[in-house]
Symmetry: D3
Subunit: 123 residues, 6 copies
């Protein structure tokens, strides 16, 4: 649940300071299921996502140095979540077997009708 | 899609400026269906709701004189939408037959897990 | 999934022959849970609902004698489903214990944003 | 996410040991909004619900002494959650202002098509 | 909300005149986010979709010359919406930056359980 | 609606006997729409899915010989449904035109926040 404002005529009234609830889904993909029978340790994956969202939640994103000079659109934030999750995967935070993850897809739902996703392979 | 902040320790991190998407449902009720077969003219009802939400959308509610000194919680905003819709019903804006409306229920969904409703009889 | 058209200027373009998917929920209510631990036999209740909807599905409701001269609005159809289900409850079709049912609520969802309900006590 | 089995022919194949995911909503109601602008402290309410569900989660309910001799139907479990939440409200666990709560409604969704609710006034 | 009928035994009772509500989603994709931070101008995209759906809404598709001799199945209509949106993208109706769109996916939800999608690259 | 337990510390409390409701979606894909205007005969596809799920429903999967020594995770079960559906497609059970199906995607929703999918080409 964040506040922000956008720059550019294309955004119309969203140029004013406003806000959004983002419901965030992350899809973890691999070629085949790990021996334990899972794609990812869902407990660790949930912890990682919670940590990433905690860095942004209940804030005015216009004041966040990390996003300075950026329109923090739903698309942009989907990529931010992707990048931060990918870094945690690379760092081994998702536990044994997570080196087998092939790609991620991050979706931010901003309302019942609008959402944005970012997907890409992992290194 | 609004920005706001709350006053009071009970709100924790939501004391900071943040924001929310509200998906808003209004339920119109009457004792029995009008002769035309409807409870309310859904076109006029949608127009009225759009106008009410337009007064709040893409704004920082902390700066709205109408809400000065108030925590604009989901519960509070549900009552605001109720009161404004009730006033429009009373003013006849919902068209022929709307004098037969008995009560309203307004629900604001703030996320996939949290919502608040306000319901009460009309005059 | 039915076709129909409406009479009256209030309906705008819905005066033309068009159609709708209705997703139908029925809520069965009683004062306290029956000894078996259920409110209603959900198998029998589902069969009854399926039979009721089967009488209307894949039809042009403008051609149904039962609805002659009526606008088959979502509100009207919610009452039709209510009445037909109430009749089946009264006839004992929902099995042992169903005489303890106190009221029903029938909801027809016509899209992701519009729905109508009809609720009333049972005899 | 629980396992259980039912006794009685009415349950058909559900007489065998099977299981269910329950998505649980609790609705807190009061006559008018508290001065802070909320109906209930949603943080404390969520903690209380998490504690109540934690007493049942990842278990075979057939082995729980508290439910001995009972069909742990969705209806029955909705009342269990209601009773346990009501007790916590009475004990003051939901914090300042919660003595103004008038009633609760607990809903357990067992699938995309079936759910059961239990609602009653609080003392 | 349209009426139609199908030809072919495979369609069973759907060979009769009936109807459907379609809830329509369009997914716009590009290799990387445009400098403004968006994938597409959501205002223009919504206007384009509204125009496309307006050409079909509240009609009996059996009477539409454009669909003559065709079963207007959910799959077929998903492709119709795709083709019409692709044409508008090519015509520049979606504004500056839309020439960077790589592909579209159109989904028509016909009920809570059935949907069809059509996806393909743009020229 | 099944019961099961998991082996391995990674599963925490899910090592105990518990259960789940799975809401199952199958996506059938082909390069282009069949002449009849459909991707697949939805009646036959639904019958096939119902048969496949019937082999698992209302059971304790720990007791099923077919899954002996396996963690019947959501991911694993998605592949089981995929394999069984693929076999039925190959056997011609989905009727005329189904030889044109190119790939399947099976999704099992285990709650409002967790799901797993398995997708692959058909032979």
């Amino acid at each position: 649940m964040i506040a922000h404002s956008f720059h550019g005529e294309i955004f119309g009234p969203a140029q004013r300071l406003h806000g959004a609830t983002y419901v965030v889904d992350v899809e973890f993909r691999r070629e085949s299921i790990a021996p334990s029978g899972v794609v990812v340790d869902i407990g660790r994956a949930s912890d990682a996502l919670r940590a990433i969202l905690g860095e942004m939640s209940y804030r005015n994103l216009d004041d966040e140095p990390a996003f300075s000079g950026q329109n923090t659109t739903t698309e942009f934030l989907a990529k931010v979540v992707f990048d931060r999750m990918a870094r945690r995967v690379d760092a081994g935070e998702l536990g044994a077997g997570s080196e087998g993850l092939a790609s991620l897809k991050v979706t931010l739902h901003e309302s019942h009708v609008a959402w944005a996703s970012y997907e890409a392979p992992l290194r």
